[in-house]
């Protein structure tokens, strides 16, 4: 039984014409005078696109910024792995793009489960991001005449994606990182690397600091601030195998949730259609092949079940280009959720290729024939190279084999229009929040959101919190800080004290299998109920049987991993419960009970057009559901068809 809160949750969006709402809000936000800003400290956790851009921009304004990351350098955050590009409504191609169209494509792409006002602001800010990045020296791809060039991405019929070869995330992150380093040298940012946030400190209902563990010395520390900005990314590693970096985790967000921050739409997870298939039990992670490849690559499987001929022996008329067949107007650029399910459908029906039969071809032979190998090499050279290193196959000669993998999580901590959680003083940016992508994110929109939040939203909204609440200086001697510090220490000690027989890796893989089998690309009531029981039982086993070698007083990666898996084991249950409660299909959340005859999502707007924001009640105790109703005026409900 789920307890639903009586009062609906309010996203606190401005009213009026959607195009003016952000201007309206900026007029209403209170300011902190330039010479007062240096009196205030803002903690920024995470140094990806959201955290890096936020830390740099806040320091430029004059705030004292304390920046934390778990990596050895801020330049390594997982935003760096984004390949294909970043969307912006510049309409440089004169192909009919506009702020409105980017807004509409994003709302439709997310199946009408995102907040209209936020998405419109995102589309508006997209153009300033490109300006800012170019000014920083980000080497975006150019035409021969020197103007910026674009490529197409899934879910759009215009070319609005800016890119730097196949390394767009890297170049954008280095831009933000360099802006950060400039502020470190100017004294505006104090940098704390190899630090993991283990708790949020809430004083009188307001977020006032964090607890960290130094991953080198094992030392616990508390930090006091006037606002906490959480930019700690997504939770895809709950599935063990995903395209995310190995250290990506839910710990910081989950600990904030346990301190009262609502967790929104956790069941909205994105399974990316173009990843290198699993090759064996040893697999430690999956590698994405950028969606940009689908500009020139054609996806197909043999028309005959179990056809074992090599792809070059299969004649054209015996190939099923199933995306082009099912979705003629978008073809190979159908959105991610749609393309992933289509691949699963073909493989489940026995048409898959490769040793396991769990992959499909992504074929470049037509593009290579038409444009020449050199052109394809310039566009995708590094991706082809990476594919060959991993699979030992040359994609210029043999089609790539791909299969869907967990890639991005649309859900995250609940935030209002100002990106503030329900806990005043706690702001959540980028993938860590839930706000802009609804039930499915379009390609090249994650970079856009991270940078919009960090460069152009938080610099305005954090000042309003400081100015309106008139936050007073406090000291880390307060009991709330001691309590949080001791809680973090004792959790680590508890893990070390189990002294069981199975490694953390064993539990993480087991959790991943439960999640992929029952809470993956297709979900149903029976499977979800089963998964919830299995997760609970695995969690109990973990606390009785996990074996962590070494101590808490030194660098101990095994211990770090155990802490993160312990949190995943709590969080995964919420993810599955959210998937169970949302009894409709939309975007990345596909409930088998709700599909059309053709196997497409069947949404239920009458009952489920809301954000599910869960309030923590204790481990194993059912959370309280807060509903934020979603209304669609400027992008009215429609059928999400890509046919």
């Amino acid at each position: 039984m789920v307890t639903v809160a009586d009062t609906p949750l309010d996203g606190r969006c401005p009213d009026g014409n959607i195009a003016n709402r952000w201007d309206q809000r900026k007029r209403d936000l209170k300011l902190v005078a330039p010479n007062n800003k240096r009196k205030y400290t803002v903690i920024v956790v995470g140094t990806g696109l959201a955290g890096g851009s936020a830390a740099a921009s806040l320091a430029e304004l004059g705030y004292n910024v304390l920046s934390f990351c778990i990596q050895d350098s801020p330049r390594r955050a997982h935003s760096i792995a984004a390949q294909g590009g970043i969307n912006a409504a510049k309409n440089y191609q004169n192909d009919g793009d506009s702020v409105w169209r980017l807004f509409y494509d994003t709302v439709k792409g997310g199946e009408w489960r995102a907040r209209e006002s936020n998405v419109y602001r995102l589309a508006t800010l997209s153009t300033s991001i490109i300006d800012q990045c170019v000014a920083q020296g980000v080497p975006f791809a150019r035409e021969y005449g020197g103007t910026l060039t674009n490529r197409s991405f899934g879910g759009a019929q215009v070319s609005r994606t800016f890119y730097c070869g196949g390394q767009t995330g890297q170049q954008l992150l280095l831009g933000a990182y360099q802006a950060m380093m400039r502020q470190v040298s100017a004294g505006g940012i104090k940098l704390f690397t190899r630090r993991e946030m283990l708790d949020l400190v809430v004083v009188d209902g307001i977020a006032r600091g964090i607890v960290t563990r130094d991953l080198v010395t094992g030392k616990y520390e508390t930090f006091v601030s006037d606002a906490v900005v959480l930019c700690t990314g997504g939770y895809g590693n709950a599935y063990y195998l995903s395209t995310m970096a190995k250290t990506c985790n839910v710990t910081a967000a989950w600990r904030c949730h346990k301190r009262g921050a609502y967790f929104a739409n956790p069941c909205f997870t994105q399974i990316h259609p173009t990843c290198i298939p699993v090759s064996g039990d040893h697999q430690s992670k999956l590698t994405l092949m950028s969606e940009s490849l689908r500009n020139d690559g054609r996806v197909w499987v043999p028309k005959t079940k179990g056809d074992s001929r090599s792809p070059d022996q299969i004649p054209e008329d015996e190939r099923d280009y199933y995306l082009e067949r099912r979705y003629p107007s978008y073809g190979n650029l159908a959105p991610r959720d749609v393309s992933s399910r289509a691949a699963k459908e073909r493989c489940d029906a026995g048409f898959g290729v490769g040793p396991s039969g769990m992959s499909v071809y992504l074929d470049f032979s037509k593009a290579i024939k038409e444009d020449g190998e050199a052109v394809i090499r310039e566009k995708y050279g590094n991706l082809f190279h990476m594919y060959e290193r991993i699979t030992d196959e040359n994609p210029y000669k043999v089609p790539m084999r791909i299969y869907p993998a967990v890639h991005y999580t649309m859900g995250g901590l609940w935030v209002d229009y100002n990106l503030q959680s329900n806990l005043p003083g706690l702001y959540v940016l980028g993938e860590a929040n839930f706000s802009d992508h609804g039930a499915n994110r379009l390609g090249a929109s994650a970079l856009m959101q991270g940078l919009a939040d960090g460069y152009f939203v938080i610099p305005y909204t954090v000042g309003d919190h400081i100015a309106t609440r008139k936050v007073k200086p406090i000291s880390a001697d307060r009991p709330e800080f001691h309590e949080a510090l001791e809680a973090a220490k004792s959790r680590t000690a508890a893990i070390l004290n189990v002294k069981g027989t199975h490694s953390t890796e064993h539990f993480h893989r087991a959790l991943g299998k439960i999640m992929w089998d029952h809470v993956g690309m297709a979900r149903n009531e029976k499977g979800l109920l089963h998964a919830i029981e299995q997760i609970k039982s695995l969690r109990e086993q973990f606390w009785q049987d996990v074996k962590v070698v070494g101590s808490g007083e030194t660098l101990n990666q095994n211990l770090e991993h155990a802490g993160r898996v312990a949190d995943f084991l709590e969080f995964a249950e919420l993810l599955a419960r959210d998937a169970l409660y949302r009894d409709e299909s939309c975007g990345g959340h596909f409930r088998e009970e709700h599909q059309t005859e053709e196997g497409e999502c069947e949404r239920n707007d009458a009952e489920f057009s809301y954000v599910s924001a869960w309030e923590y009640q204790g481990v194993g105790t059912d959370s309280i559901l807060h509903k934020e109703p979603l209304t669609f005026v400027d992008a009215p409900f429609g059928v999400r068809s890509y046919k």
Binding site: A81, Q132, R389, T554, N556
Partner: protein
């Protein structure tokens, strides 16, 4: 299909173990068996670590994160070569099909005065961050930017900038250099920004300050042997070092700043 069928390998590993920066370290020998040739090098280390945990020994500490060759976190010296035998390849992207059954593999951390050992195969590369802090940026506050297409950047200039900007900051250039020089790393950032119109205003100050910091961090000098280029997983070219020298000379002789 040109994919060779996967095989299983039995290997002897000699791995540098060191409990902390001040503790003594040494090579320790381990055996691993049943390593699939489809595994990545780090997945092979994962197998060893699971084996160590089972036997109650502390696993080998090594840095890694994205495991797709872009974050620059991983990096060890494999049989004397930074990131191992494949060119243009990070440790995480090196696959076990490069090794033969019965091989002995020696695995060491980056060894350089400027990169102190933290534990086992992990080193402290924060000196690279401090070099970037000295000038590896364009001073443009958020909100200051003009319309992106106002300044044209010809295709070939953008390509040149992109090739230099592709550096992942892993430190293999330093680890492979007999002088532990950071010239390839520094030159990549200097060339990237010097080749773009946006980098012109601070061109002289940038190169002077970054080189001064590089020296202060105890990196050695470049003697043009080119080991760095051979080891670089991002294929940063040695010609960037020539450009760095030109930029430095020009700034040192003619800059009015």
């Amino acid at each position: 299909m040109n994919h060779a069928a996967s095989k299983n390998l039995n290997l002897t590993l000699k791995i540098w173990r060191q409990a902390g920066p001040k503790q003594p370290g040494g090579l320790k020998t381990y055996q691993v068996s049943g390593i699939s040739t489809d595994m990545s090098f780090l997945e092979m280390l994962d197998v060893l670590n699971q084996q160590l945990i089972t036997s109650g020994e502390e696993p080998v500490a090594f840095d890694h994160d994205c495991r797709e060759g872009i974050c620059g976190t991983c990096g060890v010296v494999i049989n004397g070569q930074a990131h191992g035998p494949d060119s243009g390849t990070t440790t995480c992207q090196l696959h076990m099909r490069r090794f033969k059954d019965g091989d002995t593999i020696v695995i060491e951390p980056w060894l350089a005065k400027a990169f102190p050992i933290v534990r086992d195969l992990i080193v402290d590369r924060s000196a690279f961050d401090r070099i970037i802090q000295a000038g590896g940026f364009v001073s443009v506050n958020t909100g200051n930017a003009p319309e992106a297409n106002t300044t044209l950047v010809p295709h070939h200039v953008q390509q040149e900038a992109m090739n230099a900007a592709a550096c992942i900051g892993c430190g293999a250039c330093v680890a492979s250099c007999k002088n532990a020089s950071a010239m390839l790393f520094v030159s990549a950032k200097v060339s990237h920004l010097a080749s773009l119109p946006q980098g012109q205003a601070e061109r002289s100050k940038r190169v002077l300050n970054m080189v001064a910091t590089m020296d202060a961090e105890h990196f050695g000098n470049c003697t043009n042997t080119g080991e760095c280029e051979a080891a670089c997983p991002a294929k940063i070219k040695l010609t960037n070092i020539a450009q760095l020298n030109r930029e430095y000379m020009k700034a040192a002789l003619f800059s009015k700043e």
